[in-house]
Symmetry: D3
Subunit: 234 residues, 6 copies
């Protein structure tokens, strides 16, 4: 089984980190490749960034189809391009936000999301509602660290940890959902220190794709998610 | 006052039709220009089409800002790129789906949407929910005419009329919302023949922008819709 | 085009203020008349007040029909008698609460309502839910100034300003909706001082009616909002 | 204990019928008086009728307070003036729609409402949502008999029975809620013939008031439903 | 009329207290018997406790049917076994949580629940949602007194009183709902001291059953709540 | 890794079937044991059956804890005892209904559930709402085959197939969710013949547990799902 993990931004070090985390959990016989678009923003922190990143994501999905991947992960917490990718791909496509939030749904009454910038909070609630998990989402909290500084800011771990502590206290929640692919490598340490389940979407989505492929399940193609109608592009 | 109407697809005849409809309702002293992206799909009938159209829409908004337009209409029923456009523009940005559905909300208990292809029905419900009008939306009905054939199919009017009749009967609704910018020129004739209000989003959004500009109202910029953070693009 | 703005309470100075604000935004060729019921409460601050005001509002609508007005505004934030007025009138009828809240929906993720007395907060949530904007309403805040004292209390502006500041802080909202017609004249000053969009329903509703009339849209009459059945009144 | 049942319309024969039904179920030591407003419509079949009936209802409540009634029933399925009446009365006030629908909630998964004219269906859904029972309401069905003809149309019982049968079949519901006070006398016969629970709001509300009074429960007065602020009326 | 009140836990003193409270409100000619299961937990404070208590509750309902009771109360705030009991019983079955919350719905805009341990808060919200009263539930507050200590802790009344005061302040609610059958005897004193309606489910449910029996209403049996299919048990 | 699959009913042949299906998908190094309670109903088709089955399920979970299983599947579509089991177990517990419905959420806009008896439809909607997937559930359809006859009725496969075809047609859904563990062995054949994804909860839940265990995720224990308080049982 071959899974393609698409990092929607163009920061190579983050692609490497994501690929490493995904490979660390993949089952025996599962190959995980991590790629990033050839063009687009270095990080996704606005609706504009997301919109500009999506065509590159879809290019990677289309290339993945030519290379016959069995399934795909979209590794940015807003799940950019998810439905379009499902139209393009024969196999399953899973976003890390949906995977993280649905995974947390198995672990208790409610989860808190800890994300990067507060300007993304509204979008997180939007997708929580769309995925049907808004009642389970006890709160969304920003730690105000820009995405690319997660790797460089020496205080990043401590700041995220503090935001998690505040979220658990304020929301009386059962678990934490990490709201950015760039936090994937902090997951185990946070969980250990906090003493609660901490869900990273990168690994959750990777194993969700593995699960779907093993079950022979793919996107339903009889309606909305059939391949896009052929047409000319200017 | 200068309003820019952006047709998200690249079919020039549709841009012309949309511009004409918008200009026909604009108030005295209001200039309406209609443009289309330099690249992108000829019509938008899938999540993929929409995703590929959005960067071109945002380019037109950015160009519009340089030209100091007072406000913008996004003239495709899925409102592609709406939130990103609001980040970019200083003045108000209105999508034709939100404008049509919120306008219909003033006209009675419920409206029926008549759209092009059935594969877009799910997306219409998604945005109805997002805009808070799902309880008012009594049904979404496809007439199965591809967007570009609205202009060429000699049966198009009759087919849309039949779909409207079926919708009113089945949904017991008070009005019709047209689910495609390409139906804008059918609006008056349909309303006359059906004897019910028929709402076209192109004209509804144009007058909504005019209304907002006259009231001095613009997108709130203190959080989610502030200008996107500056960053490098690969 | 002739628009009738009905102030549901019987305080003439407020009718004058409302009429002035509405006329200030009306387009060229649009006449705005402002009236008040011949009998009823001097202000509306309870369900009882609202119930007692409605027959007077409907009398004014009926008189407006005889005078062939093109459309109507109901200028009290609870939108008293709105659906009944739609049954009576041939042209469109718009309430200031629905107009203010739906207008704010174009300006960002969420708005805060700043209203007069806290006893009206529940009713505001009720109509927000009914209009489908409850998810967009980030909070409702009372400044505890009775309606008639908005004009006389020298601290009124400062108190409303403080309530707006508190609301923006607490709700992390993008805009303010003024929850009383009697605040219409404070709108521009508040917006200037707060640096965020402030929506007054009186002007929003006036331009909404103008928009609907220009589009030839009127209340759908094939069901719930058909003229009331003729019957005897004791 | 003394309960005042207010028939919001001015048809004396219906007041008599309602009073009789309420008295038939009242407990030992409970006096039930039935009254109607001095002025208003002969029946309530539109938003306009309802609006015009409410001041008369509130006059009867105010008179009831002078006469020291322990509690009140508002006996029209739209519950006209309910919240205003709660502001006026010291004791509990119960509407027949809320009582019928909440009573049916104890009897199974879902109920079907059978009402008079189809133009009232939207309002029934509105109050079902407001009362939190919309998920339990499996359908609302009109038998298209005007209110005053329930007493005179020789086919009325058969028509209502047919509408109930259709509703049970179509909605797969567990019980019937009668959507008009004028159907109160049909309840037992319908239940017997249909073999399912049939809930009439007049008797349900009467016993609900009796229950509340016996429990010493009255409207909470610390906020929205405190007595209306004193003020001048023009 | 004979009503059987089933205390789902096995603490005899609580059964006595519940029976006493129920009998104190029952109407003339109404006999109330209070029983408890032969086996099961001494109190219900977890999902596990509730699950283990249910078979004993159903045994008591089945025994009640043999003894031809007219209706039943399930006297634990989580309403354990309610739907199963409705399948078994011919007459109506009412849980104290649904009765308390629906009764409070007649008394104002919103109620606050004051319960025992915070670990039950999630379950309370679950049933509030299920019963359609979540919008009316302004908050759920724990006083952290274990069920069995309500009778023995000398500070119990003061602690519950304090929790009620905090709830009213924080939730701006109109009434209090007591979240445990073991608080039934505190109801009158709390209401007197707080000056707001306080609803105890034990008495509310008892009078609800009395009301339903007097109206001849029983569980609808044409679908989900028909008697369970006969089958072998290992 | 050792996973315990608990069949909540006491039909040994169904336990065998479920165990077989689960083992067929389990990954390398994963041991799956399937058990059933020592006492309880032979099948679960009513609220009563479910209530009587739960203590047996919890006994198996408790025994599983002594045997140090890593995670658990509850293999009956109503997910009986799920929250109580989460209190008891240290590792994750997954119900087949939640697993099937959340898995289907990755495959398209909406799914149809095909279940056994129509009396279970209401419960299915209840849990769909509780799990947040009600908007994705396009319909619930009964094939009216009792659970134990799924194995013996020679027409069972054809009947289920017909119900699936009807569901896809009527609901315009993207996939089928099988509403009974006893249908697990029909899944592949149905999917092949229908040409759409068919999700069986037994295998979906088994791989979900495997996924959670591999990710080191377990039930959050800081609140509602902490081990039940110790107490005496009568």
């Amino acid at each position: 089984m071959r899974i393609l993990v698409v990092n929607p931004n163009t920061t190579a070090s983050m692609t490497a980190l994501i690929g490493e985390c995904a490979r660390a959990v993949a089952g025996p016989g599962v190959t995980v490749d991590a790629v990033q678009p050839g063009s687009g923003p270095e990080s996704i922190e606005s609706h504009y960034d997301e919109a500009m990143a999506v065509p590159g994501v879809l290019d990677e999905i289309a290339a993945g189809e030519l290379a016959a991947y069995d399934g795909y992960v979209i590794a940015c917490f807003g799940d950019p391009g998810l439905l379009a990718a499902r139209e393009l791909a024969a196999g399953p496509v899973v976003g890390i936000a949906e995977a993280a939030m649905r995974t947390a749904a198995y672990l208790g009454r409610g989860f808190s999301v800890v994300t990067t910038l507060s300007r993304t909070i509204g979008h997180t609630w939007d997708i929580a509602r769309q995925y049907g998990v808004a009642d389970l989402c006890a709160g969304v909290h920003a730690c105000e660290i820009p995405v690319v500084e997660l790797e460089t800011d020496p205080e990043a771990y401590a700041t995220v940890l503090g935001a998690c502590r505040g979220a658990l206290e304020r929301d009386a929640s059962d678990s934490i959902v990490l709201g950015c692919a760039g936090m994937a490598d902090l997951c185990a340490r946070l969980s250990h220190e906090l003493g609660v389940p901490v869900v990273d979407g990168v690994v959750a989505a990777t194993l969700e794709v593995e699960k779907l492929v093993r079950l022979g399940l793919r996107t339903g193609k009889r309606g909305e998610l059939a391949p896009p109608p052929a047409k000319s592009f200017a």
